[in-house]
């Protein structure tokens, strides 16, 4: 047995600017153990719920993350709506679905770019982010914000999308899908990408499930679990099947996200085609009294907002479990047995979001 050494990974690392630290225990260049550390920038946003009115807290929830910001607002709003028995108009549900899937698209394209960069495939990184820009343009055009949209609220949404704009989005989807399929073709079929990713850090289905993995990380190991199946927002009307792979390696985790691009485009297309007429919000009366575990499928997996009202305008508790926090245990199991050079790619394969984790 070689002498064991500990190599620090992070909290600042070129492939992951957000602060997470891993103590990698190595024998030669083989990883034999890992100890994770987080908590460098914990913001205590959950506690702000005690000082903000429940309708205002949507703005705080949205700022938990700069990538899946809309979905945090959606998860929080749906939780309050459940506690207060508020029925959101159908048009608002469809608009929420469109913006959610736009968030998933730009999140996955962001990740694909970072993943390509982690593999050293620089022009694939640039192509991924070029495509992502077109999604951010749509978000800016329809909500006014590229990062923080500010359109979701308790009782519905703040902005409508006019028919002319919906038609324009529908027309551009074909070209966008064609470009995504060209991009996905490289990720899924390029020889160097497959050589780098296939067979790397395999997590069997039972392990992924037992470790509480979430999102594409779990689905890449064959766990057919996607909260959109419960039909929240307009997913119940539009129908939905989770994207699942079975190999459980880095390639499968990449393949799930590539195929989810196509799935999101299809959902947006059908949401535009089936967009109902009508109001986009309802007036919210009263204050929340009760509790609910609201769950939404973010790009990185299931997010949980536990909300507890006490009949006043301030909630008694908001507890937020983000998908990256749920994926830390599986990350700890992924790393032993791989070479040091593969650590950045494997860490990226769970699509870690430390902003979410340090809510």
């Amino acid at each position: 047995m070689s002498k064991r050494i500990v190599v620090p990974f992070g909290p600042q690392h070129p492939v992951l600017p957000e602060p997470i630290h891993l103590d990698l225990v190595l024998e030669d260049e083989l990883v034999v153990d890992v100890v994770p550390s987080i908590g460098y920038i914990h913001r205590g946003l959950e506690q702000l719920v005690l000082k903000r009115e429940f309708t205002e807290y949507v703005y705080v929830a949205e700022r938990i993350c700069g990538i899946c910001s809309f979905m945090h607002a959606l998860c929080y709003s749906q939780g309050i709506e459940h506690i207060m028995n508020i029925e959101v108009p159908d048009r608002a549900k469809y608009l929420r679905t469109i913006w959610s899937e736009c968030s998933r698209l730009h999140s996955h394209l962001l990740w694909l770019g970072l993943f390509a960069d982690g593999m050293g495939f620089e022009n694939l990184f640039m192509r991924s982010w070029q495509l992502r820009e077109s999604v951010l343009d749509v978000l800016e055009d329809t909500t006014g914000g590229r990062v923080i949209q500010g359109t979701c609220k308790v009782g519905g949404v703040r902005r409508d999308i006019g028919q002319e704009k919906l038609d324009e989005m529908h027309r551009t989807l074909d070209t966008f899908e064609e470009n995504c399929r060209d991009l996905g073709d490289v990720f899924l079929n390029d020889g160097s990408v497959k050589y780098r990713l296939q067979g790397l850090s395999v997590i069997p289905r039972d392990d992924a499930y037992a470790l509480g993995a979430a999102g594409p990380t779990a689905r890449a190991s064959g766990v057919a679990m996607d909260h959109r199946e419960t039909g929240y927002a307009a997913y119940g009307d539009l129908g939905f099947k989770p994207v699942v792979e079975t190999a459980g390696d880095c390639y499968a985790r990449c393949a799930v996200r590539v195929r989810e691009l196509y799935s999101s485009i299809d959902i947006i297309r059908r949401a535009i085609e089936g967009m109902p007429e009508g109001p986009i919000d309802v007036k919210v009366k009263g204050t929340p009294d009760g509790e609910y575990f609201s769950r939404v499928e973010q790009p990185r997996g299931e997010v949980v907002h536990y909300l507890r009202g006490n009949g006043t305008k301030h909630l008694a508790r908001a507890r937020i479990r983000t998908p990256t926090l749920a994926n830390i245990p599986i990350l700890v199991k992924m790393l032993p047995g791989i070479q040091l050079a593969d650590v950045p790619v494997v860490v990226l394969s769970i699509d870690p979001c430390i902003s979410c984790t340090e809510r």
Binding site: V35, S37, I38, G39, Y40, H42, R43, G44, E46, Q47, L48, L50, K51, Y209, A210, L211, G212, H227, E229, T230, G231, Y235, G236, Y292, F293, R295, E302, V304, Y306, R308, A316, R317, R319, R321, L325, A326, I328, P329, I330, V332
Partner: protein
């Protein structure tokens, strides 16, 4: 479309591990462990899911009581248990990876625990 159900069941400290083991045997995955300061005591929710059926075990503990770790049953529970300790100050015994208070670094000790901090401001940034 799959219908989601949520149920919550109170559990005593001495029954916690048995109930958790039963859920593991029944095929439930651990979703999260979260704590709420209810003024003079804490409620800890252990949340599990199987096929979108959401089950909660709710444990109520006093400010000086310890909680037994469930990381022997669900290996990944260590992230939540360290979090409960670092944010609320609740001692959790037997965690498989125990960071001993360094998992979440905060300027204020136990920032989410009004009870443990004597009812003062819960968070200096709030």
């Amino acid at each position: 479309m799959v219908h989601e159900e949520q149920t919550t069941m109170a559990v005593a400290r001495e029954d916690l591990l048995n109930e958790v083991e039963r859920l593991k045997t029944d095929g439930y995955r651990l979703v999260q462990i979260g704590c709420t300061d209810i003024g003079g005591a804490y409620e800890i929710n252990y949340s599990f899911d199987k096929g979108y059926q959401f089950r909660n075990l709710r444990l109520t503990v006093g400010p000086d009581e310890e909680v037994t770790s469930i990381s022997g049953v669900y290996w990944g529970a260590f992230v939540y248990e360290n979090e409960v300790h670092d944010l609320f100050g609740i001692p959790v015994t037997g965690i498989n990876i125990d960071f001993k208070g360094t998992f979440i670094r905060t300027a204020t000790k136990y920032p989410f625990s009004v009870t443990r901090r004597g009812g003062d401001d819960p968070c200096q940034n709030a």
